[in-house]
Amino acid sequence: MTRKPFILRNPSVLVVLAALAVFTAAVTLLSQAYGTGAIPTSMVKVLGKTLCLALAAVAMDLVWGYLGILSLGQMAFFALGGYMIGQWLMYARTETIVAASLANNPIPPTAQELQEAVANQIFGVVGSSDLPLVWSFAHSLTAQLVLVVAVPGLLALVFGWLAFRSRVNGVYLSILTQAMTLALALWLFQNDSGFRGNNGLSGLQNIPGLEGVSQASLSVWFLWASAAALAAFYVLAAWLVSGKCGSVIRAIRDDETRVRFLGYPVEGFKLVVFTLAAMITAVAGALYYPQAGIINPAELMPIASIYLAVWVAIGGRGRLYGAMIGAIVVSLLSSWFTGGRAPDLHLPGYVVSWVDWWQVALGLGFVLVTLFAPKGIAGVFDRLAGWRPPARHGRDLGPDQGSLKEQEARA
């Protein structure tokens, strides 16, 4: 039996990669640093951040659309990734600044003095001057890069092991994930948890060692990195959900009990996908926050994860490109409508200001999509490709007239 290469079996992957390449090239050629300057640097940053959100949506689709777990805590992993890279960004940059100012002293500072001065600079805002234990590796980029995937991965592994082993399912599992991200946010809000409380980490747009590079160039570099990460993890996710493993994952979503009787360790599969998705989300977060410049515990509030679920639902669950398109379209629309640039809608007797009404419109859109187009935006592509599910509504006629469904019998 000859087997076509992976890309040919999944033509949508090729289309996504091509679209991503064209988009990245176009933005580069229109950027201020490398092109005509038609797209301002702030807009390049918005686009780069949007690609990171799209990556988080792809991971969400793995967990929700394919595995069937509506996780309302995905953004906890996203923010943790951001915090992990933010620790190094903030520490290394503060160290550079402090070292420069201490260099004027008659006696050069010792390593100990330097660290104390850095800690004082970073934690003065929360009334502390000691470097917390959780910052032990903050001086090392390599260590923090490892932590970007290790910390969210470990959290997902432990949380998942406890929840899946007890066979918590459905809405109860969703509530648990939501509780997890809320608990983490509340912990981070405390000043003594070691992450600067509600101030969060800031100044992340300044990359240590790259002081000479302008933000215009940096924004394009981050756009490239975000696009590359999205491309790489999109291929990984598409590979994971193709073939026999994808079959088993979708089967778990549809009838987990039956999969157990086939002999598959359902909990093991859930744990692998959930942990992998958490790690992908964390990488997306680690690329997002240097572009945003600031991270604080409000980013972990459950509402952020609910937005992610809304994007995936509108884009189309169970289709990786659907999740990606949903995140890109809805988050860009959101920032346009809430940015105050959208023209007001003048109705007779009332002026609809989008800043106030966008949330309502988004909520309405979500309800409408759920009710009338459960496949979301991806459903349009399915329709074009002729992948319509067979319209076999109605109940089985049962054992005796077994071979037909209600509607077929009527026809």
Binding site: M1, R3, L240, G243, K244, C245, S247, V248, R250, A251, D254, D255, T257, R258, R260, F261, L262, G263, Y264, P265, V266, G268, F269, V272, P389, P390, R392, D396, L397, G398, P399, D400, G402, S403, L404
Partner: protein, 246 residues
Amino acid sequence: MSALLEVSGVSVSFDGFRAINNLSFNIGAAELRAVIGPNGAGKTTFMDIVTGKTRPDEGQVLWGAESRSLLKMNEAQIARAGIGRKFQRPTVFEDQSVTENLTMALKANRNPFAVLGWKPSAASGGRVADLAAEVGLADHLARKAGELSHGQKQWLEIGMLLAQEPRLLLVDEPAAGMTLAEREQTTALLVRLAQTRAVVVVEHDMDFVRRLNCKVTVLHQGSVLAEGSLDHVTRNPDVIEVYLGR
């Protein structure tokens, strides 16, 4: 003959109701057995206990030559040990093709990472084609299981069971939803399978049981009422009273 499955003194209650009461049951490595009994006799609960879905309050369930206890294993481990179960309602993965359904059921390493690295080979493709031919679905390999008729879904599920290559098959009302011709086909298949492995058939339909021509166990109120050939048990006055006499 040493037993493949040995259930002894098993009891289980749900909210005070004794669904299974001191039940003992043995089956050899290559044997066909029909289990009959009125509704509520505990037939399905018995299957649930053997497959690990329900934990008994007391008793022992031993498996294989090494007499491993099944009570310490979960559903997936029991399935991997070689016990396959066919449900009363056909349960196939409707959103996936017949090929995908059968491929998933093929005997292979079930570890997530092994599954991730699994690639279809000429052997696996051939096996899927053979199984599909055996259950009459050779022309439907690419169709989604949800599109199949009720009877075809039953067959697909039987095909998936065969793909698992179990040593013990538990079959719940296999003839439900099948035409007369399909019933005969099913009977022949079950009899043939029982030559190489143990098969337990739970059935209501007496004609079907008669055609299987095998030893029969009658359950009533969670324990064994009678055991023997169909003619033997149908002459038993207790059996006539609780089941056939109604």
